[in-house]
Structures are given as structure tokens and as C-alpha cells.
């Protein structure tokens, strides 16, 4: 019984962390139409940033600033935001698939950087991070449950922040730029400024998710920032419903459950020689989910509502 509860807490923690990242992508893609193909770069910047800022000094590694945890987490978000600001400025003129290719390239470059630069721990990653309040709550279920509550609070805060944001004139502006940038500019709006703002804000949220992820495992390595994570996060958003924050969270839990279950089922029921390819088969499955959803229900399980602006609702 304890085993099952433990597992559920573990599952819900990871799914909640990923939900935060998916909400960040939803701000960029669902609301603004920015095709970020390099989610892991910003997730990773937050993760590496948090550990570098928050951990004790280690030989040969960058940082070890030992900042208080919340400050380190916030610092990770800031670092993700700075990376997004630079990438955003460089790619400001790129649209759609071009932006996707450029950001995908950034993510691959990020992975290569942390894999090869010894100061980021290289292929071994950064270990030895002391999880906050561990000496108070130990390392058992109580600690994990508490950490889950912490993650859940941040997920709810992020959700409420975004819901309020997109119901405002700012959200209306994001959607207008998604729908037709030229028309928005002809109505006095500055698409480049708005795109950059949305790109940075979404990436900061991804950075928060990355920081929480690294905290949860007390460890981050290049294996955690592979392109597959970007595709998983995209699948979660597409299945849930781009443009709908509730859909983004639902999609995350659903896809993460399917991912976990498929891994378990393959390792349990598939013939031994097939099991070797479990990871590859899962990659294929996630591809099927994305393509299938785009073909048969592109609006997702929870489609975007037509009227999102709070004050444009007429109660009909």
C-alpha cells in the first residue's frame, strides 16, 4: 500500500512539474503561435541554473554558490529568461517552421554544451545537490509528499497567473498576433515586442519546471535535456488542447500516464528481444500520438474557448 502511495506521489510530482513546462509552452504556442521547438533548452537552463546556484562548491564545477533554495530556484528562472531573451532577439524575424528549426538547434546546442563542458559536469551531470529541508523531513515518503505539495502550489499559482493573463487585454493581444501579425500591426500593435515578451515569459515558466525537476532528482545531466522531452511536452499540449490551460494540465497527466504505462507494459509483456527497444518504441508511440491527434482532433481534448477576454464575455 505504502508502495502504491509512494509511487502515486512520485508520478503526480513529475506530472505536475511537466504540467508547468506545458503551461509555459501553451503561452508561447497556444496563445501566441510561437513554434518553440527547443523547450528543453529553457527547461534545462532552469534546471542547471538552479543546481549551480543552489549547490555547495564542487571541484571543477561552475558555481556552487550555495544560495538559499528559493533564491536558487528563482535564479534558474532568471537564467532561463536570459537565454530566452537572447534566443528571442536572434530569432525575432523567424516565423513558424523556421522558428521551430532555429529553437530546436538551440536545444541541441545546449545539450552539447552541457555534455562537453566540464564546468557543467559533462556527461555525468551535476550531482550532490542537497534538497531543501531534507534534514527536517528526512528522505522518505513524508519528504516526497511535502515536495509534491510545494510543486502543486507552484503549478496552481502558474495556472492562475496564466488564466488571469490571457483573460486580459495582453492575452487578447497575444491571440491577435497568433491569428494575424500584419493585421495586428496595422492596428497599432508592436508584434515583435509582444512576441519577445511572450517567448521570455513562457521560457521562464519552463525554467521553473526545470528547476523543480532538478530539485526533485537532486541531479541533472545531459540525458535529461534530450529532444524527446521537447516532443513529449508538445504531445501533452496538443492532446490536451493548445490555447486551453486546463487542457494543457490534463494533457500532461494523460500523456505522462500513457508514457509510464507503455514503458511498464513493454518491459513486462513484450518478448525479451523487443524489450531492448522499449525506448525506441515509446518514441514511435509519441510520434503516433502527435500525428494522430493533429489529424483527427487538432483542437485537442479541451479546445480553446472562442471568447477568452474577461470583459468580452456577454454571458450567452
Amino acid at each position: 500500500m505504502i508502495g502504491i502511495i509512494s509511487y502515486l506521489v512520485f508520478f503526480a510530482t513529475v506530472a505536475s512539474i511537466l504540467s508547468i513546462a506545458v503551461l509555459g509552452l501553451n503561452l508561447q504556442w497556444g496563445n501566441t503561435g510561437l513554434f518553440n521547438g527547443g523547450v528543453v533548452a529553457f527547461f534545462g537552463a532552469g534546471a542547471y541554473g538552479t543546481l549551480i546556484l543552489g549547490s555547495a562548491p564542487q571541484d571543477g564545477l561552475l558555481g556552487g554558490f550555495g544560495l538559499p533554495y528559493l533564491l536558487a530556484l528563482f535564479g534558474g528562472m532568471v537564467i532561463a529568461g536570459i537565454v530566452a531573451w537572447i534566443v528571442g532577439l536572434l530569432t525575432l524575424r523567424l516565423r513558424h517552421d523556421y522558428l521551430a528549426i532555429a529553437t530546436f538547434g538551440v536545444a541541441v546546442a545546449f545539450e552539447n554544451l552541457v555534455r562537453n563542458a566540464a564546468i557543467f559536469g559533462g556527461a555525468q551531470g551535476i550531482r550532490g545537490f542537497e534538497r531543501p529541508l531534507r534534514d527536517v523531513f528526512g528522505s522518505g515518503l513524508a519528504y516526497n509528499a511535502l515536495f509534491f505539495v510545494f510543486v502543486l502550489i507552484l503549478l496552481i499559482a502558474t495556472y492562475l497567473f496564466l488564466e488571469r493573463l490571457i483573460a486580459s487585454p495582453f492575452g487578447r493581444l497575444l491571440r491577435a498576433i497568433r491569428e494575424d501579425e500584419t493585421a495586428a500591426q496595422s492596428l497599432g500593435k508592436s508584434p515583435s515586442r509582444v512576441r519577445l515578451t511572450a517567448f521570455i515569459a513562457g521560457s521562464v515558466i519552463m525554467g521553473l519546471a526545470g528547476g523543480l525537476y532538478a530539485t526533485f532528482y537532486a541531479f541533472i545531466s545531459p540525458q535529461d535535456v534530450l529532444p524527446i522531452l521537447t516532443f513529449q511536452i508538445w504531445a501533452m499540449l496538443i492532446v490536451g488542447g493548445a490555447g486551453n490551460n486546463k487542457g494543457a494540465v490534463m494533457g500532461t497527466f494523460l500523456i505522462w500516464a500513457a508514457w509510464t504505462a507503455s514503458g511498464w507494459a513493454l518491459s513486462r509483456f513484450a518478448p525479451l528481444d523487443v524489450q531492448l527497444y522499449t525506448g525506441s518504441i515509446q518514441f514511435v508511440l509519441i510520434g503516433f500520438v502527435i500525428v494522430g491527434m493533429l489529424m483527427w482532433r487538432p483542437q485537442g481534448l479541451f479546445p480553446e474557448k472562442l471568447v477568452v477576454s474577461q470583459s468580452a464575455k456577454t454571458g450567452r
Binding site: S168, P169, R172, D180, A183, A184, Q185, L187, G188, L306
Partner: protein
């Protein structure tokens, strides 16, 4: 008529090249305050390109544009809209997956809630503004006869209604000069009549219009002066009556080379 003031729009030697092709060729003209100017010419004459250069969507290759006496050459579309220049598009550009009301509410300039922190810091100001914007948006929608469609997705209304919606959107910015690109093309006669009625009503209220239109009845009845472009050059400028008797103009429409 009142004595001619400073032209609201003055164009001098405006030229726009696309590679070797000269789409707009040394065009100079003045648009007087309070007029409805008809801009005519065969397909490919450079009318829409001229609009795109005037509204800042394309930089000119040469020449200058003055709005209310101020040099605005090369300014971006958003800056020009803020200075009182509104335009609609030949093929309507609604924000398709937004409601008609939201389309219109987007347009007012410098909204407090348009900043990332707007809904959180000083949200009271945002709410007051939103209430005022919403009220004005409903009035403008009512004016263009689209109020019953306020809750529809803008991508689902008819092409003619989209043209009215574009007019409604720019009216939210209180423009002084409005450029309409083929407002009557592909629009059923009833809606065209509504549109003409609204244009004339706005014109009586002091707004200046420049209208690209192929419908000669429309131009001859409602536009004065009429300006004609052919192969990027201005080939005619005068009254509607003069236009009908102008051989150069007839040549241009018949496809003959203009010397």
C-alpha cells in the same frame, strides 16, 4: 467647401521597386482633408503596393510621405496607426479564432492591460478601461451593423461582414485618414450599400478616405477626386466626370501602352 488646408496626405516622388520591377513609379499627389478619393487602375497598376508603402508595410525605394505635414516616410504600420492612419485589406484579415467583439476591442491604442503586468499591477485601471473599450466597441459594432454578430468567431462571418469588421476595428483608433482596399469587391449589394452609407456618414463627420475600387459605378458616384494609376505611374487626376471622358484612362483600362 472650406478653403483648402494643409493636405492630410502628401506624397512626393514615391517609388517602390521589386528587383527590376518598378511597382510604383515616381508618384506624387495630395489628399485634401475631408475628401473621398477614388484610386483606380487596372490590375497590377501598383495601387495596393502604393497603399502598402503609405501604411509602412513596405519601405519606399525613393520618395517621401507626409502625414499632416509631418514626414512619416519609412515609419512602421503601428506608428502610423497611432498617428491617425487606418487601413483595411483587399483580402480581409480578421483575427479568425477570436470573437467579433474581441477583434474590435483589440484595436484601441495604449491599453493599460496590454502589458504583461497589466492584469496584476493597477488592475483597477485596466478594468475601468476595459469597460469603456467594451462600450465603445459595441457602439462601433452597432454603427457598422455587426452588433448581432458580436459573439461569432470572426473567421465564420461572410466576406462582406469581414470588411465591415475591419472598418469597425480601425474606427476604434479614431483615424483621421482611412485607406480602404477594394471595400466592395466580392461583397453582396446590400452590404455594399451599408458600407457606402457608413463611409459617407463618417466622411460627413470629418474623416478623409482613399478608396481603391474596381467598381466604376461606386467610384463615379461616391469619389471625388479620382486618381488613376497604370504601370505604377499616376496617369490621371481629376473629377469623376473628367475621368469618364479621359482617353489616356480608357487606354490604360484597355491595356494599351501609356506613353
Amino acid at each position: 467647401m472650406a478653403p483648402m488646408a494643409e493636405p492630410i496626405l502628401r506624397i512626393r516622388g514615391l517609388t517602390r521597386d521589386f528587383g527590376d520591377f518598378r511597382a510604383v513609379d515616381d508618384v506624387s499627389l495630395d489628399i485634401e482633408v475631408g475628401t473621398i478619393t477614388g484610386l483606380i487602375g487596372p490590375n497590377g497598376a501598383g495601387k495596393t503596393t502604393l497603399f502598402n508603402v503609405l501604411t509602412g508595410m513596405l519601405p519606399p525605394t525613393a520618395g517621401q510621405v507626409f502625414l499632416n505635414g509631418q514626414d512619416v516616410t519609412g515609419k512602421a504600420p503601428d506608428a502610423l496607426f497611432a498617428m491617425g492612419l487606418g487601413r483595411t485589406f483587399q483580402i480581409p484579415r480578421p483575427f479568425a479564432r477570436m470573437s467579433v467583439l474581441e477583434n474590435v476591442m483589440l484595436a484601441p491604442l495604449a491599453q493599460a492591460g496590454e502589458r504583461l503586468w497589466g492584469p496584476f499591477v493597477g488592475a483597477g485601471k485596466m478594468r475601468d478601461q476595459e469597460a469603456a473599450i467594451r462600450k465603445k466597441a459595441m457602439e462601433v459594432l452597432d454603427f457598422v451593423t455587426l452588433a448581432p454578430l458580436a459573439d461569432q468567431a470572426a473567421g465564420q462571418i461572410s466576406g462582406g461582414q469581414m470588411k465591415l469588421l475591419e472598418l469597425a476595428r480601425i474606427l476604434m483608433g479614431d483615424p483621421k485618414l482611412i485607406l480602404l482596399d477594394e471595400p466592395a469587391a466580392g461583397v453582396n449589394p446590400t452590404l455594399t450599400n451599408t458600407l457606402i452609407e457608413k463611409i459617407e456618414e463618417l466622411n460627413r463627420g470629418g474623416k478623409t478616405f482613399v478608396i481603391i475600387e474596381h467598381d466604376m459605378d461606386f467610384v463615379m458616384q461616391h469619389c471625388n477626386p479620382v486618381i488613376a494609376l497604370a504601370e505604377g505611374r499616376k496617369v490621371f487626376e481629376g473629377t469623376a466626370e473628367e475621368a469618364q471622358n479621359n482617353t489616356v484612362l480608357l487606354d490604360a483600362y484597355l491595356g494599351a501602352q501609356v506613353a
